[in-house]
């Protein structure tokens, strides 16, 4: 199979608390003929976009990463001036800074001045893409063609959260009526469960200091998914995964009627459907453990 070499930006969390996302991403992409080349010398993107108009400094971290992509392309280790991100927050931050760099010449000038120790000047031409977009461009039929173990009978609710879809002009799909997750889930044979809170925020970084509030929000989101018939929730953000997954311990304390539900990354389900083993699906790393349900369904 002809492999495409694409620059891959994992971001900090995929290397630490969300290793299952990193492992399953590389494995499932490889199965599809995409060799994700980890970007040399990548640095933290800053996790959130610099919203204040005079905040130039916080554009440096994301834009320096994009400059690394250009260097990687020039040295030939990747095919295009393109970078694939997985974490919804990294994707959003890299993409927005790139847009701002191309739209605001004043800001771009200041950034260039601050990065004058770099070997090259960033052209602004790197394309920031989410893996879901890469898959959509290739065609869902191509994903389907690699499925050896369709996830038959598995009722999955896609949870988009905020930064994968918003703001307008940045998100991977229509902010009001997204279907990218649904299309992927159909391609790998799962049963899609639609629910009203799929775009409602999980409380984000408030999980650091307002655990109680996040427990309420997670309860609201997960309860609605369960009422719609979901047995599992799928996401693309390590912060959503943490708030909806790990925080279930706090949800149960506050809402004793709550029944647990596994949360996994979309790449883990892809890896599973492509027939990859547990080393590559990394399904043992999620909290709560999704394996009892998958065993019950005869999928592992």
């Amino acid at each position: 199979m002809l492999m495409m070499n694409v620059a891959y930006y994992p971001g900090c969390t995929l290397k630490t608390t969300a290793k299952e996302f990193d492992i399953s991403t590389k494995a499932s992409a490889k199965a599809l003929g995409i060799n994700l080349v980890e970007l040399p010398r990548w640095n933290c993107c800053g996790t959130v976009h610099a919203l204040a108009k005079d905040d130039v400094m916080h554009h440096l971290a994301p834009l320096r990463n994009l400059l690394r992509v250009e260097e990687a392309q020039q040295s030939g280790i990747v095919d295009d001036k393109k970078v694939v991100a997985l974490c919804a927050m990294c994707y959003n931050t890299l993409k927005r800074s790139n847009q701002a760099y191309n739209a605001d010449s004043d800001m771009a000038g200041k950034v260039r001045e601050s990065m004058n120790n770099e070997a090259i000047v960033y052209s602004g031409q790197v394309e920031v893409e989410h893996l879901l977009e890469t898959l959509r461009t290739q065609g869902w039929d191509k994903v389907q063609a690699h499925v050896t173990k369709p996830l038959k009978g598995l009722k999955v609710a896609p949870y988009y959260g905020c930064l994968l879809l918003r703001p307008r002009g940045v998100g991977v799909d229509n902010a009001d009526n997204p279907r990218i997750f649904e299309d992927l889930l159909k391609a790998i044979g799962a049963e899609v469960v639609d629910f009203g809170y799929k775009q409602k925020c999980c409380g984000s970084y408030n999980t650091v200091h307002m655990v109680d509030v996040v427990a309420d929000l997670s309860n609201r989101i997960l309860k609605q998914a369960q009422e719609a018939g979901a047995e599992m929730v799928v996401t693309a953000c390590p912060l959503c995964e943490y708030n909806l997954g790990n925080r279930q311990t706090e949800v149960v304390k506050k809402h004793p009627k709550f029944n647990g539900i596994p949360i996994v990354y979309f790449t883990q389900l892809m890896a599973l459907a492509f027939g990859l083993g547990e080393d590559e699906t990394a399904l043992g790393l999620n909290k709560p453990d999704p394996r009892p349900l998958l065993r019950e369904k005869g999928l592992i």
Binding site: G11, C12, T13, T16, T17, A18, C44, G46, T47, V48, L51, A52, K53, D54, D55, H58, C87, M89, G161, C162, L163, L165, R166, P167, R168, A175, D176, Q199, K200, C201, G203, S204, Y205, N206, T207, V208, H209, M210, V213, D216, L217, P238, L239, Y242, N246
Partner: protein, 139 residues
């Protein structure tokens, strides 16, 4: 009912205008476009934790009321941009919230203190959570 009409008269001072202009400059948003339809507030996932609804904060900014800086709302906002996609007037309400937060943070204010968290809690929390929390809520 009294036949006498109650009138509310606002007396804006030049300082109100200064505050409003500063928020507009920092956020890049034309706050006067807001006609108070409330779509931002109806879609906001955090209103149950807020003292003023997001639409009310926008109204306060329109009037140049610095009290907006004392509201709990600006700290509870998670910048999820639900308001941004809903606003029929094209205002990015999340940007206005950020501008208000910045006006307070830049006076060396910290909303959260991570020293209060145990080592175990810090190890367990995802990096994205810690970094974004520090970016949004500390000076």
């Amino acid at each position: 009912m009294s036949s006498e009409k109650q009138e509310l008269v606002l007396h804006p001072s030049p300082l109100n205008q200064v505050f409003k202009d500063r928020v507009k400059e920092l956020s890049g948003e034309k706050v006067e476009l807001c006609f108070q339809c409330g779509a931002c507030s109806s879609g906001c996932p955090m209103t149950q934790e807020m003292d003023y609804l997001p639409s009310k904060v926008i109204r306060m900014v329109q009037l140049g009321l610095e009290e907006a800086l004392d509201s709990k709302t600006i700290w509870v906002c998670t910048t999820c941009f639900n308001c941004e996609v809903r606003c029929p007037r094209g205002i990015d309400v999340a940007n206005v919230m950020e501008a208000l937060r910045q006006l307070v943070l830049r006076k060396k204010y910290d909303r959260v203190n991570l020293d209060l968290l145990s080592d175990e809690q810090l190890r367990e929390l995802p990096q994205v959570a810690i970094i974004s929390c520090l970016r949004k809520l500390t000076a």
